[in-house]
Symmetry: C2
Subunit: 342 residues, 2 copies
Amino acid sequence: MNLKQLSQMLELSQTTVSRALNGYPEVNEETRRRVVDAAKRHGYRPNPSARRLATGKTGMIGYVLPTGSAVDIDPHFVEFLSGLGDYARAHELDLVLSPADAEEQETTYRRIVANKQVDAVYVSSPRPQDSRVALLDTLGLPFLVHGRSDGFDFDYPYLDIDNEGAFHDATRLLIQLGHQRIALVNGDDRETFAIHRERGVRRALAGNGLAPPDGHVSSTVMTEENGYRVARRMLESGGAPTAILCSSLIMALGIVRAVRELGLTIPGDLSLIAHDDVFSWLKPENFSVPLSTTRSSIRAAGARIAERLIARLSGLEDGARGEVWPVDLVVRGSIAGVPAGS
Amino acid sequence: MNLKQLSQMLELSQTTVSRALNGYPEVNEETRRRVVDAAKRHGYRPNPSARRLATGKTGMIGYVLPTGSAVDIDPHFVEFLSGLGDYARAHELDLVLSPADAEEQETTYRRIVANKQVDAVYVSSPRPQDSRVALLDTLGLPFLVHGRSDGFDFDYPYLDIDNEGAFHDATRLLIQLGHQRIALVNGDDRETFAIHRERGVRRALAGNGLAPPDGHVSSTVMTEENGYRVARRMLESGGAPTAILCSSLIMALGIVRAVRELGLTIPGDLSLIAHDDVFSWLKPENFSVPLSTTRSSIRAAGARIAERLIARLSGLEDGARGEVWPVDLVVRGSIAGVPAGS
DNA sequence: ACACGAAGCCAAAGCGCTTTGAACGCCGGT
DNA sequence: ACCGGCGTTCAAAGCGCTTTGGCTTCGTGT
């Protein structure tokens, strides 16, 4: 059933039917009712391909997926997707994933724009002065960043959590507990979130006249293995940290393993706070010693991003609002005062 | 730059230019060269929306993403995506994710078909007699299943790993080591993969006149917490298992935690084999006791699925070929003979 | 010399929608 | 009695591609 058939059936022009269905004002309310009613009864649904061609709007949002044999998609992504899906579902909003070589994302963004494949995109894992943000800004494709990209002189819409504040507060807490040698096991410090977290830690330390010694700030891909390696190295060095802040639960697994292997205990020998993105399959309270965390649901962020994206597509939101969410600091058994003799 | 402009520029008809570009035979090779050359020089790219409308083909593949507040997307999904992306990238093939309420996926599939949104879909986490498979078969939308759905009297294309064989072999190995009380910590047994794994275990046991006692086969969502709970329950019961087979590394984390908490050791008190889908962020060799595994890269499967899907879209593959991959059995330190006195 | 098929090209008709520009009837105001 | 304007509807022109059917032109066999 297409528009033509429907309009013939109603003895109206395609124009009128189209307008009735799309809520244009210049159609008689009585007529609109008839049209809407008939459309529903016959299960008429406008052909999206035709509509796309006519309007240029696709009703889809896009995401350029960095791939490559050396690239591992962040496991957080799936949790984010859950959130996005939760919200998008109700609006029949689809998400288009365009895989791209990690080095050549720009080409893909250009293609997306040239092809008018989506109405907006979202960008994740941004870095300072992220080229994608700059590109999208000039290309004029609406976008929303999950995270932040510092260093631009224009505003753009984003949703971020207060990484700096979270790690600042967590560090301050450790300091209040008497810790002085506090280490940071961070993610890739080319990304903004990691930079902000490091900044938070340093600021808290500096506020107390402290600074992390050499080798006590590490930046690696957030795997269990890296958590282990880094922790092992730190803990075996002279002046080992008495507390560690860690950017992910998965790395924390590795840290715990290192601690155990060295015959140390948490929190007896080492206090540990990790960032928790809230996964259902790995919970900080279930660590052998329940883990203190900075917590922020990445899934909720996904839902909010979908919400804002949809608002933007329907013209309800505009401008370049940045939104920063506070982060919970959840204290569990993994932190304590400084071990005696340290 | 659109087709019209390009054809005027070349002083040819749109027909000829279109045909030249799409490789139709009835165009002079000399002419084709000119056209292709000009198209490249001017960066002409056919408008996909227009092409869609004309042909009905979209050049995209779809996936219906089950969502809902109670639904957690499988973390394996992201690894699968990596593989899919690796391959799809080179072909500029995009993936459309359509979020759907877990209970109402059917509606979404119908919408996708009615709207001609994608040329094919892939289906994951199939169950026996999966309604999606039946639906897609009748709707006539090309599809490819990752996994298998038993119980249909027609063939359909799928890619699966030999779950039954893997768990059979792993169990047999444990039996050969002298184990008699072997338990299975499985995933959701409404899904085919879990059913096959259980079947593999039972078959190996039966082959030796054994059978799992009550309570030694569990089926839960594959989280760390469930691994812990189940293992704890099993190990504290009378006639505790001396060996456990486990369907995921994440659950294995929980099992290890339970073992440790009970003051037991691996492999001294308990042998453990888990299935490894090959994640970069959690590796079996890095468990405190290196884990023996049945191993199959889910990422490779993603790539292969993309490959087959693409072959199918370009008409190279047809029919309903099922493909089953063998699974590696990798022995590491987590298994040993039966503890004395058991 | 003519017919016939193949090779190569083209004009135009879709695909199914939105949107422009115009038409129609009817009202109130002058 | 006439005109401007409003409310409502419509025919037709896109959007940019593919594909049908037809039209030349040229070489070949009779």
